[in-house]
């Protein structure tokens, strides 16, 4: 047995600080030391880098390289010269865009449709979750949830197909019902004033159920003893919903609201492409559908890229602002 080593206190590489923690004075590493540590690290951990490489390379090739290609927004792009060789023209495309009524209209349509989505689409899943929470029969609740989550998994094309069929002027169920009340048949999808209600309504039909999952989870996280003590105090279910459930899930509601505001430029343009037609452009055309028509259908790549860049830049600022707001409010952020 070796001799007792008693109280071998901090050796000379350590120095005490006032609060009792000991700061490590790292010996100055030479380049050789650092190199040998790095070599050691890669010898032991090279597999991690092999695993990471495919995802990183993919991101570079498919997401970061297009960011480099974004420079065509400032260029007179020609397919034959390519991205790099096309001549710079400064902000000409942006000037053209801001003088273009269609583009200005698309920007405002984007904001208007998003605002409507927020106004009607945002409360819907919260109300649904609160109602689910009051349903007592577990089997019934389960069944109803199974049904209302389903539309989220249905493709946009099918949703559009259903909308087109249901709102058709002669064959559609909507006009059939209107007919019962003696109203004239309306060709809804050609009427600009009907486009936004149909679009927002479809969105609620498709996403309200699925969106309620987040709020149901928040409700499930509420401490049950809060309800038990409220029962003992004689509160009604209605009072408990207002005094316990809603205040408890308020942080979740605020975070989701902030996220929604951050995504205001992201209108599901795929559905718009499938539902709109020239007659409804005045209310339906958003920035991304504008980009699609100008770029992919008419081949004005450079100007369309400029419009897309405008959209992406605004969206990026909104997302970052929303996230920092969320972080400040709740210490929870998206990343």
């Amino acid at each position: 047995m070796t001799a007792k080593s008693v109280g071998n206190a901090a050796n000379n590489t350590a120095s005490g600080t006032p609060d009792g923690t000991v700061e490590y004075a790292a010996p100055a590493l030479t380049l050789g030391d650092k190199l040998s540590r790095a070599v050691d690290h890669f010898r032991n951990e090279w597999q991690l880098y092999v695993m990471l490489a495919p995802a990183v390379i993919w991101c570079i090739v498919f997401l970061y390289k297009p960011m480099y290609g974004l420079q065509i927004a400032f260029k007179d792009y020609s397919i034959f010269r390519g991205v790099a060789a096309s001549p710079w023209i400064g902000l000409e495309h942006f000037e053209t865009l801001f003088g273009n009524d269609q583009f200005i209209r698309a920007v405002f349509n984007t904001i208007k449709i998003s605002a409507l989505n927020l106004l009607f689409g945002f409360p819907a899943p919260i109300i649904l979750a609160l109602m689910f929470n009051e349903v007592l029969h577990a089997g019934y609740k389960r069944f109803a949830q199974t049904i209302v989550y389903l539309p989220h998994f249905i493709s946009t094309v099918i949703i559009a197909g259903i909308v087109i069929t249901a709102f058709s002027p002669t064959a559609g169920i909507v006009n059939t019902i209107l007919g019962w009340f003696g109203a004239d048949s309306i060709y809804f999808l050609t009427k600009p004033e009907w486009f936004r209600p149909i679009f927002v309504g479809t969105g609620i039909w498709q996403e309200a159920g699925f969106g309620s999952i987040v709020f149901l989870a928040a409700i499930a996280g509420v401490n049950p003893s809060l309800y038990e003590s409220a029962v003992v105090d004689g509160a009604s279910r209605w009072q408990m919903m207002w005094k316990i459930t809603i205040p408890s899930i308020l942080p979740t509601i605020i975070i989701m609201l902030i996220i929604r505001i951050g995504n205001i430029m992201e209108v599901s343009f795929e559905l718009i492409i499938l539902l709109y037609q020239p007659a409804t452009y005045s209310t339906a055309d958003v920035v991304n559908t504008f980009v699609y028509r100008q770029g992919l259908q008419s081949g004005q790549y450079d100007m369309a890229a400029a419009a897309g860049l405008f959209n992406a830049a605004v969206a990026f600022v909104l997302v970052v602002a929303a996230n920092s707001l969320s972080r400040r409010y709740s210490r929870t952020s998206l990343w």
Binding site: M67, V135, A171, N175, Y292, L296, L334
Partner: protein
């Protein structure tokens, strides 16, 4: 909440019943379009065109299905969707699983940077045009491979899985390392089995998004023999009413534009309905795993 009805006051009972009824109405409203479309698809063209179908098929017939199922293009697109879904999902997993594992390991040099590098793609993307031009420059237009590889990595799914890996106690990795396992073995023999629920979730998200994917398939694919079901569906719906030849034949046919559209919709929904019960088990948890991080 484990509270039974008999503990409820009169007012509470009325409230509970009222919410159940409202939920029932919303559920019915969700379900109705599917019932309506199914009813149309089995109705005669005349009844459908006249707007007579409400809930059940009128003059029930399989004519619309016969028309759809005898179209070889329908089957080609169905096969293509299958290829894109299986191939694309496998490709996604091959990129995402190892990447998520590497990003979850504290030993990784520059871990913060790499995480930011991936996450940045969620907040900023170059947009439709540069992505399209890039795909064209890479020679991936009108190509099966292009559709599969072009959408292989989804930052949201990758971060979701990374979060799950990070939540696994590090002693599992340490125990395996001490037993002599290298990182590939740790991932394959320990982490993948432990992360089964999360991997199932992202697999199902991939499958659904592949199955439903339409916009880029429409933009990137030109050859009819390569298009997936969703694009075929879109073409058919868009063309049916404009197609003079088709409209002309309708007079003598038991089907109409509406019934054929409805029949295609039903055929495209059925696979989703088949996998849906399996998905449901996972997505409620899966959606909560991802994104929001303390």
């Amino acid at each position: 909440m484990a509270m039974t009805m008999n503990l409820y006051s009169r007012g509470d009972k009325i409230f509970a019943i009222a919410t159940s009824v409202l939920i029932g109405m919303f559920t019915a409203a969700t379900l109705y379009p599917f019932i309506y479309i199914t009813a149309v698809s089995f109705s005669s063209g005349f009844a459908a065109s006249a707007g007579k179908v409400i809930l059940t098929p009128i003059d029930a017939t399989l004519a619309a299905y016969k028309h759809v199922l005898t179209d070889p293009k329908f089957w080609v697109s169905y096969r293509n969707t299958f290829i894109y879904t299986v191939g694309g999902t496998l490709m996604s997993l091959a990129f995402i699983i190892p990447g998520a594992y590497a990003l979850s390991r504290p030993q990784l040099y520059g871990r913060r940077f790499w995480n930011l590098f991936i996450a940045f793609t969620m907040w900023f993307n170059a947009g439709l045009i540069p992505f399209f031009l890039n795909m064209r420059d890479l020679g991936l237009l009108d190509s099966y491979f292009g559709i599969m590889i072009g959408f292989a990595v989804n930052a949201f799914n990758l971060i979701l899985l990374r979060n799950f890996f990070e939540a696994i106690p590090s002693s599992f990795q340490e125990a395996a390392r001490m037993d002599g396992a290298n990182d590939f073995q740790v991932l394959w023999k320990v982490y993948v089995p432990l992360a089964k629920p999360a991997i199932a979730t992202i697999t199902l998200f991939c499958i659904v998004s592949r199955w439903n994917g339409f916009f880029w398939a429409m933009v990137l694919l030109q050859s009819e023999e390569k298009i997936p079901l969703q694009v075929y569906l879109r073409h058919t719906i868009a063309n049916l009413s404009d197609d003079q030849e088709f409209t002309a034949t309708l007079l003598n046919q038991p089907y109409s534009v509406e019934t054929v559209t409805a029949a295609i919709i039903v055929c495209a929904i059925i696979p989703v309905l088949i996998v849906y019960p399996f998905i449901q088990k996972y997505f409620e948890k899966g959606i909560l795993l991802g994104g929001v991080k303390e």
